[in-house]
Symmetry: C2
Subunit: 366 residues, 2 copies
């Protein structure tokens, strides 16, 4: 089992990464000295796949667990769902010593984490990430929250779990499209911070996505968590270092929104990373060889075509983004594989050029 | 101006106490380096009394302020109100650099504080307490939250303000009944921790409630905040030391609930302190002279008669209380004026005796 320590000023916690780790849930729960009662929060897609195994592990360790199942989907990451969860917790008489366990992807993690942060002013929280993207991204950093009808992720709290459990074996039931989305974020970590992480991805990307070597994938996931944890530890609230994690996200988020979410997040980020890599080359910070090498690997990520979009719409979304401060876009470039930096010197013409470049890549796929 | 530093592991903040302090709001805002935009949250009762003065002070310091007014009353301390506030903040385009300012009593403070804790995962927060009870109690400790339809204060967060402003001059518009409620909590601080605080209260209680000496009241309020801050700093989450603050509250809360809130919190606590003081005497920890002296002062607190209640109902509420852990009631006793201690050795017969004693006091008032 790999254990990554997320060290934070206020509270530190471990991430346990192991194929088959779900069976150790009860033992880990006990090891952390958590209270005798828990609520396991999941959704209707994950419940038939993994909830029984989680409940059995908890039960065999003597943890009395209330199972709460929500409908799946981003639209249920809402205050209404939070209110429903509070109600279930209160009705079950769960007190301050209770633990909330999220079993699911980003939506369940964000929602259950927010409820843990705010039920009785905060109870213990465990996250079990069941998607690759949640395993390498949302399980580190303590972001919790819900959407508001006027915008995504506008309500929330920074709240750290007591522990995170990542069982790469859970990815067996994850649809291929979701796995590729996660792999896009995995590649990001290699590109911004770690050549040694990038190299196995370069050679075995498809094998990894097909789960042909769970032990190797497990080490890769652990490495991603380590990279994010190191960045977050140095920079708990968002600023320059943390901005590196946004590599590919400035254009990616905008493409995602412009596609009206026909592109999934990881897919849009893959496109965004292609654009950012090209822009790094075009602006002279990345040499042609590395650009070609990175692009070759990024192109392997399965994703839909970009299709028709209007530069102006994409630019509008970019400027609306939280990453834009005082009108300046803090764009993440690469010097090389594993070496990223932030530069606010990007203008609309650069962005238009990058979007034009993406169009040529899109055309070669058609 | 008196400045009390609330020192916490995570974040420290000052409480400014001064008659006329509301006029310095804008200057204090600037001194703390807060962003150019703020939202002032108040209720319909406080708005015509003090909102203009607050807005003028902010405006003269160049702070662009959005005023949001809610209906008054505990029933609006809800997720529905929080949602409404998020909407107003989003519509006004307030970003992470915005500051939320609460202008009101406990309801507005708890609600606005919760919204500050959760809007965009937390923005800066200032509390201006307009009731005596909020000035000496809820302005220290970082408790924020809303009620759930299944119970009070079940949803919330610990979230510290950047600063608290207490202007005792604001009490001029506070109804006498509310002032007496606050004075009940003021007396509590003297009884649990500070003979020197108790003495002026003993001799001048009515003059102080009638605001005949704002400077002296100001020093008394500051002392209460200091006592609470010292306790909280040593014991940020609730445990033994913090339990001292519950003096009079075990029986008080139960009487409040049993009266169906016909008794206000401070009034019920006054009754509860009478009971706890008597029990301290009856169990031998307090001598008769001190018991009589304390009782003489507590009896001055204006409050309605207890009226008819049923011991069994009160006991039921006591056992339902959060202060009861594993069936043991952590009851706060006095050794002397300024010296409190927690003892879990209280049984139902003790409580029945104390309730019987209260009945005799109630009868002497009739």
């Amino acid at each position: 089992m790999e254990i990554i320590d997320v060290r934070l000023a206020q509270r530190s916690y471990p991430i346990y990464v192991e194929p088959g780790g779900l069976d150790h849930l009860g033992a880990l729960y006990r090891r952390h000295g958590l209270g005798p009662r828990a609520a396991l929060i999941t959704d209707e897609l994950v419940r038939p796949l993994w909830a029984d195994q989680a409940l059995q592990s908890l039960e065999s360790s003597g943890v009395e667990t209330l199972l709460i199942t929500l409908p799946p989907g981003e639209e249920h990451k809402s205050l209404v769902s939070a209110d429903h969860l509070y109600e279930k917790l209160i009705e079950a008489g769960l007190d301050r010593k209770a633990t909330i366990i999220a079993l699911g992807g980003g939506v369940i993690g964000d929602l259950a984490g927010f409820v843990a942060a705010t039920y009785l002013r905060g109870v213990a929280y465990i996250q079990i990430a069941t998607t690759l993207i949640a395993q390498v991204d949302s399980s580190v950093g303590g972001k919790t929250g819900v959407n508001h009808r006027l915008g995504k992720n506008l309500v929330g709290a920074f709240y750290q779990p007591r522990l995170v459990l990542i069982d790469p074996g859970l990815l067996r039931t994850l649809p291929m499209r979701e796995r590729w989305c996660g792999m896009s974020e995995v590649l990001k970590y290699g590109l911004i911070r770690d050549l040694e992480l990038f190299e196995p991805l370069e050679s075995e990307l498809t094998d990894l996505v097909e789960l042909r070597d769970l032990e190797k994938l497990s080490r890769i996931i652990a490495r991603c968590c380590q990279i994010k944890a190191a960045i977050i530890s140095q920079d708990e609230r968002e600023s320059d270092l943390r901005r590196l994690l946004n590599f590919g996200h400035t254009i990616g988020h905008a493409l995602e929104a412009a596609s009206r979410y026909a592109l999934k997040h990881g897919e849009a980020v893959a496109w965004g990373m292609l654009a950012a890599t090209w822009l790094s080359f075009a602006k002279g910070s990345l040499d042609e060889g590395e650009w070609a090498r990175i692009t070759h690997t990024l192109e392997k990520i399965h994703r839909p075509a970009l299709g028709a979009y209007d530069d102006q719409t994409v630019l509008k979304y970019i400027h609306r983004d939280k990453k834009v401060q005082d009108g300046r876009i803090h764009f993440v470039f690469l010097h090389g594989i594993g070496e990223a930096f932030v530069c606010p010197e990007v203008d609309d013409q650069d962005l238009r050029d990058a979007l034009g470049y993406l169009r040529t890549r899109d055309a070669t796929r058609a």
